[in-house]
Every structure is written in C-alpha cells, then in structure tokens.
Symmetry: C2
Subunit: 268 residues, 2 copies
C-alpha cells in the first residue's frame, strides 16, 4: 500500500521542506514513484521543485476545499518518478475556512485515498504550526518523520510535538506512528551536539517496551544531514540538491538517508 509520510515540526526553519524535497527526490531517483504534497501556504516545497505556485492550475488548496476535485489533475510531473501537488497563496485562507467544517481534519486523507494506486510513497510537507493544515497532514499520514536540530531547546519542542501525535492517534488516526528524527543542519563539532543526540536516543529507547506508544519504534535516522550551503542555495533555483550540486555533502547525506529508509521500508 502507498506509504504516507508527514514531515512535521511546529518549529520554524528546521529543515522540513529541505528534507521533504530532497528525501522524496532521493527515493524517486531509485525509480520509486513518489508524490510530494505541499501543505504550506508559503509554497516553498513547490518553489524548491521549480514550480511557480501562481502558475499551477490546481493545488492542495483546491483539493482540501472541494472534495470532488480530481487529485490526479492537480499532480504535476516534476521528474521521471516524482510528482507534486503544489501549494498556493490561498492555502493561507484554508486554516480559517476549514475551521467551521466538521470534517476539517480529514480532507487530505480522503484525497490520498483516491491516489492509492498511483504512488508508492507520498511525502507531506507541513507548515510550522499545529493548525488545520498540519492536522490534515497528521490524519492523512501513517508515519511521521521529524526534522530537527540537535539543540537542547529543540528537545523541548519535541515533547509538545509528540503530545500532538498522541492526540491525533487516540482521537483521529489510530495508525499514526513516529518513525523517527532526521537531524538537519547538523554540526557534529558544536559543544552539545553529542549530548542532545544521546538524549534523543535514550528517550526513544525508553519507549520500546511501551506497546501503546506512537514512538515505540522511533529512532534517530542516520546519517545526520550536515549543514551545507548548497542545500540552502538549490531552492532559489528551483532545484533539488541532486540537480543543483550532485557532488555536494548535502547530496551524499540525503542520498544515504533515502537509501537507508528505503531498505527499512522494503523490509517491513
């Protein structure tokens, strides 16, 4: 069945979009059919993949607001095995427009249900908040990957985030689990990096025995994604790291991360 992965973290600028785009691209380069859904009104995943949100004829917004819209019509081919359902500016209005509707958190789940035969992997890029758009991502997803930095303050935010996953799992989406953490903008030399990573790993370790825990099998994925200026430059040219700077450290790291995740997903 189609794997549905939400890249989620309510903290801003932690690498959600950079990871959605480059991890999806890494998986697609292995010949696996992949869809990216841009759930952020800022439309950075859309721009990162070389699409102008103002040009797109149908978007994630249209699909969320109009249950009868055709998702295959909204999906754009970005490269051979990589498709995109783009965001647009109107998506900012969706948070309040959805607020009054009963089924407001289930819209995307229904959309993805209609795409089950089309893709092996769907990656959902969430905005930096816990509002209706991220909730749609969490109800539509089956697993959550959390991009974050190895800073102590980031661990604080992790607690709140996991609480939200727990709430969604209990109330709305019993299949939801946390697969793990991608360490972004990683600086192995910084004073507290090793300590913070060790904290994260022992936190997940202590959940192994808890049959009820949504992060029972979560872990810190390897390799960490090192800070690499090329990763920050690619988006401005609408290119993934594999097109912009295929020899850069950022390309190696996302390729290795993708390969490791694929091995695991194919085993399960």
């Amino acid at each position: 069945p189609m794997r549905r992965i939400a890249l989620m973290n309510q903290k801003g600028g932690v690498g959600k979009t950079t990871t959605t785009v480059n991890l999806a691209a890494a998986i697609a380069r292995q010949g696996r059919s992949t869809l990216v859904v841009d759930l952020d009104p800022q439309a950075h995943a859309t721009l990162h993949l070389g699409v102008d949100p103002d040009d797109a004829h149908a978007s994630a917004y249209d699909l969320l607001m109009d249950g009868s819209a055709d998702p295959t019509d909204a999906a754009l081919e970005v490269s051979e095995h990589l498709h995109l359902i783009p965001s647009e500016t109107d998506l900012a209005g969706a948070e309040s427009e959805l607020a009054s509707q009963n089924d407001r958190h289930h819209r995307l789940d229904r959309v993805l249900g209609r795409l089950e035969e089309c893709y092996e992997f769907v990656f959902l890029d969430c905005p930096p908040s816990l509002g209706a758009l991220t909730m749609n991502g969490l109800v539509a997803a089956r697993e959550v990957i959390i991009p974050m930095q190895a800073h102590f303050l980031a661990l604080q935010g992790l607690g709140k985030l996991l609480e939200t996953v727990q709430l969604v799992r209990t109330g709305l989406n019993p299949k939801l689990r946390v697969s793990g953490v991608v360490l972004c903008m990683h600086d192995a030399q910084a004073t507290h990096t090793r300590e913070v990573v060790a904290d994260m790993e022992s936190f997940f370790e202590s959940a192994r025995a808890d049959v009820e825990s949504p992060w029972r099998f979560a872990r810190v994925f390897r390799p960490p994604i090192r800070r690499n200026i090329k990763l920050a430059e690619g988006p401005s040219f609408g290119q993934t790291i594999f097109d912009y700077a295929p020899d850069a450290a950022g390309a190696k790291d996302y390729e290795a991360l993708g390969a490791g995740l694929l091995r695991e997903w194919d085993r399960l």
Copy 2:
C-alpha cells in the same frame, strides 16, 4: 513616546526570536528601559530569557483574552532594564479563540496603550505565520523589523510580507512602517549573498520617492548578524548572548546593531 517594534517574518527559523531577545538585551544594556512581549505559543523568547512558561503566573495569552487583566502584573523583570511578558502554551488556542471576536486584532494595541509610561522600547516577537497573533503584533507596533537571510527564496517571502504590512497600514494601523531588515545567520562568503543584499537595497531605494509606501525609509541594517554557534547555544541555557558568550562574534554583532539603531531612534 514608547517605541513599539514588531520582529516579523512568516517564514520559520529566520532569526526573529534570536533578534528580539539579543537586540532588546543590547538596548537594555545601554540603560534604556525595554520590554519584550512573547507572542509565539512556542515561547522561545520566554525560554531564551531564562523563564519557564509553565511557571509564569500571567502571560501574553491572559492579556489578549482578558481586556481587564493588568499588564504590569504580567511583566517579569529579567535584568536591570529588561522586562518580559511571557508566552505560554495556551497561546496556541488564542488564534482560534480570537477568531470569532470583532476586535480580535486590537487586543495587544490596547495592552501596550496601558504601558506607555513604563518603557522606552517594546519588542514584539511574532510567530512564523500571518494569523491573529502576528496581526495583533502588527496593529500594536509602530515599526516592523524583518529578520531574514540573504537567500533568493527569502526575497520571495519578503514580497508577501510587505503586502501584509500594506494591508494592515491601510485598514487597521496607519502609523505602521517598515524600518528595515536585519540579516541573520549571515554568510558573506556564500555565492549569492552579495547579489541578494544588493537586490534588497535597490528594492528599498526605489521606494524612497513613494510618499505612500510603508517601506519608504526602510533599509538593510548593519552590521549583518554573522552565523555564530554561540547564538544557537545560549537559548538552551536561558541566556542572552551577552551572558552566555560576551566575547563571541554574535555578541559584537548584536551590540553594534543595537547601538546603530539607538543612534537612529534617538535622532528621530
């Protein structure tokens, strides 16, 4: 009169909180009475200043939801000339709770009106969105400072941001203007930095003659704030850069930025 400055950018992780905290601290160290208001449910400015949001007895949330609450009661002394109105987790609920109220964007403006005699400078740390909390910040502020990186994609977001300032100025707060941009996590060696900064400066230059433009007198502030690991570590210990690493490049940059802004503010 009390200067009210919103640190605003809907893009996540661009340095809003780091700039709010360290710029306010730099101004306070010059002996000028300064208040920070943490408008972000993530409460990172609060944590950065060494305050546990769960301990605070009154918060920005209480003041926004209860017009009769006493703002001087919510303000905590962080250091000699620096006070904080902290955030708390409940602030996340404020976006939807405020949604149905008529005066929902004016709450903070009223709160600050009651503090006119108490502080020379108020810095408002906004969340990474254009929702009710940021709107309260923009209606309460008289000037906007935009923290951002010198990347081409960041220029895209700038357009949307300025459009929002224009809307607020026309509809809700005619006194609002953009003072300028703080370049955060600056890497002078990156390929496109100089070009992007030049783009920004010529954009503001072209607004000089436009009497109606909210960014008519906006500029790129100097110095840029260089990327400095110490700035990322301080928050985890609840310390500004001036306590955590007073000799670090980050301390020098924020001190120089603060001194330059003070000179300008005192002239006007």
